[in-house]
Amino acid sequence: MAEKKVKKEKTPRQLMPEQEASIRAKNFDEVPTGQSEETALIEASRCIQCKKPACIDGCPVSVDIPGFIKLIRDGDFTGAISKIWEKNGLPAVCGRVCPQELQCEGKCVLGVKGEPVAIGNLERFAADYERKNRKAPKLEKKPLTGKRVSVVGSGPSGLTVASDLIQKGHEVTIFEAFHKPGGVLVYGIPEFRLPKEIVFSEVAGLEKLGVKLECNSVVGRTVSLEELFEEGYDAIFIGVGAGLPTFLRVPGENLIGIMSANEYLTRSNLMKAYLYPKYDTPIIRGKNVITLGAGNVAMDAARTALRLGAETSRIVYRRSMQEVPARAAEVHHAEEEGVEFYFLTSPVKFNGNEKGRLTSMTGLKMELGEPDDSGRRRPVLIEGSEFDLECDLAIIAVGAGPNPLLTQSTEGLELNKWGYVVADSKTGKTSIKGVWAGGDIVTGSATVILAMGAGRVAADSIQKYLELGI
């Protein structure tokens, strides 16, 4: 047994093939092209099937990771997807966008001395295999309960709630403000990182199970929570995300050519401006593009700019590489594609021409000082270090806040001082009876999988409420 273990550890982590950087930086096709069955089998065999698997603790929705990997190892790919589905309704999405290095893979014991099992890649493999082959038995649905649940927002938290509760036999309707479902998965994350076809296929799966989808429904405007209760809904889940862009509040920010990452990515992703003029929505195709911020959204914007023909695409960030909040893989991909990083640089103002169009950004250099509240070293301005960076497009990707559209129009809904919904972390319950909330509208901008975790918590609580009245 011990010998076998040593042998397994020697097998290197199987890399997923990718489009070459210089080629992919000019197209919107997905960057990693997917794992072959052969390499998936090898990768799955690297898992040592720990008795107390730490990886599961690292997963916000507690997928039975060694369980599905064992099934892949045994060649039962369909069994693997069914195993994942027990806990995760969106594996094709999570396999692509989860920060595995901080979650499951970050806890994998193989990572202590070598490289962790590529759990994310295997999850993606199982999900893609099923999408191609469609062999897995459909999820089972409990008999109808007659209870009705409305889900506000069709992003990751809302889809998780809908998936969990439709299987319990409740009637579920999702209300989406945009004309297409998926929330941030569709308007925010670019095609080259998460093909939209995958999201729509997941949503279609929910619709097949009986979930109703109402697009173009702005809850808080088209219909209020009160009216939803009047219409006979027994429970409401709010998962509207953090859709309020943060701007820098520096002079010149309203010049043409400066936009929020929300706007830039929504134009490109949801409205398909990258296919303009086939699609009617235009987008500014900057020659020299800067992106302010260094999270996943900033990487998405900077990489989109390259694909839209930018000659230079630069990330401007106040702190250093160490503090970059984006997933390691995103930073790596961005660098490979030619995104340049301007660390320890703070924007002071934007400069424009007589037509009101952006021509450059004036920045200041920073140095790292003492740690701040978040434990990260606080950047301090270096006097007299001003410099100009030429640019005709600047994308502001420094975070998002809570969109007040629903929260302000709902009486009795308790908000914290930043405007996020106050919800019990163990149940997702809000200050209004029968109303739950989860995802970014509760926590502020976080990840897809954390939103899904919050959706799971709320769905469990809603189930108890509908079944037992508690």
Binding site: A177, T222, L244, F247, S260, E263, T266, P277, P282
Partner: protein, 277 residues
């Protein structure tokens, strides 16, 4: 699909009226609010302030000028056809209040939006004096409706082909001299609103304007519609579309409206060419 139940052409076919089935929106909408319309799968999301609503019939009415590819696509829709997507009601409603004498100033398709606000101001008990204008007689819209919605209606044309010859601001100056005006509502092309505000600012008469900047979602998510109001950045979609005209930076707004002018021109020309085969 959101079906078009009535369609009218005005202003020599440059301005189109669509009455659209949208019962949920019709039930909720108030004067001053807007909707976003998208004609088809590949279409743009276009914000338009509603001209009217009929909650009982379950319809909303929009009136728009054909200025680019998207509005040309809208124009091609016939009764029985529909918009793929209509979203709303969005934005803040006009705060209607009894104040005394109010003046409603409208230009171009702004008159469509102005007319329901004018009607509301009259219904609530104000004395309403209206001034509407167009380049020439043929381009004037909704004169009868504005006449009914007001106690007094003044019409101006730039070329003098109908009514007063000259700009709405000329008549406005006269009215402000004679009457104790408590509020001016001005809706129309940005330069018109800007000049109206210059006139009323001198007289210190509060002035509301309704803005229609470029936007995507209309729910406060993208920030594309930001306008400077009193030195602060506001989102027209959630904070507006109406603002205190004396505080609005119209010059910035005019520039921002040009953000995609080259693309828009190209799209329009290509579409017109494709129609001609």
């Amino acid at each position: 699909m959101f079906k078009i139940v009535r369609r009218e052409e005005m202003s020599q076919g440059n301005v189109i009226l669509n009455e659209i089935e949208a019962p949920l929106i019709a039930k909720k909408a108030k004067p001053g609010q807007f909707v976003i319309l998208k004609a088809n799968e590949t279409g743009e999301r276009i914000p338009l302030t509603m001209a009217d609503t009929d909650p009982e019939k379950g319809t909303i009415t929009v009136i728009y000028m054909v200025v680019g590819k998207s509005t040309l696509l809208f124009k091609e829709l016939k009764p029985g056809d529909g918009y793929q997507d209509v979203i709303g009601p969005l934005g803040q409603a006009t705060h209607l209040e009894k104040l005394g004498t109010v003046v409603c100033v409208g230009g171009g398709t702004g008159i469509a939006v102005l007319h329901s606000i004018t009607r509301g101001l009259k219904q609530i008990g104000n004395k309403v004096i209206s001034i509407i204008g167009a380049r020439n007689k043929d381009l004037l819209i909704l004169e009868d409706q504005m006449n009914q919605a007001s106690h007094e209606l003044n019409v101006c044309t730039d070329d003098g082909s109908y009514g007063h010859k000259g700009f709405v601001t000329d008549v406005l100056k006269e009215v402000l001299e004679k009457e104790d005006v408590k509020l001016v509502v001005a809706i129309g092309p940005v330069p018109m609103m800007k000049f109206v505000c210059q006139v009323t600012k001198e007289k210190n008469v509060k002035t509301l304007v309704s803005l229609n900047p470029i936007m995507i979602d209309g729910t406060g998510m993208c920030g594309g519609c930001r306008v400077s109001v009193g030195g602060e950045t506001k989102f027209a979609c959630v904070d507006g579309p109406e603002f205190d005209g004396h505080e609005v930076d119209f010059d910035e707004l005019m520039l921002r409206l040009q953000a995609y002018s080259e693309d828009e021109k190209k799209s329009y020309e290509e579409h017109v060419c494709s129609l001609k085969g």
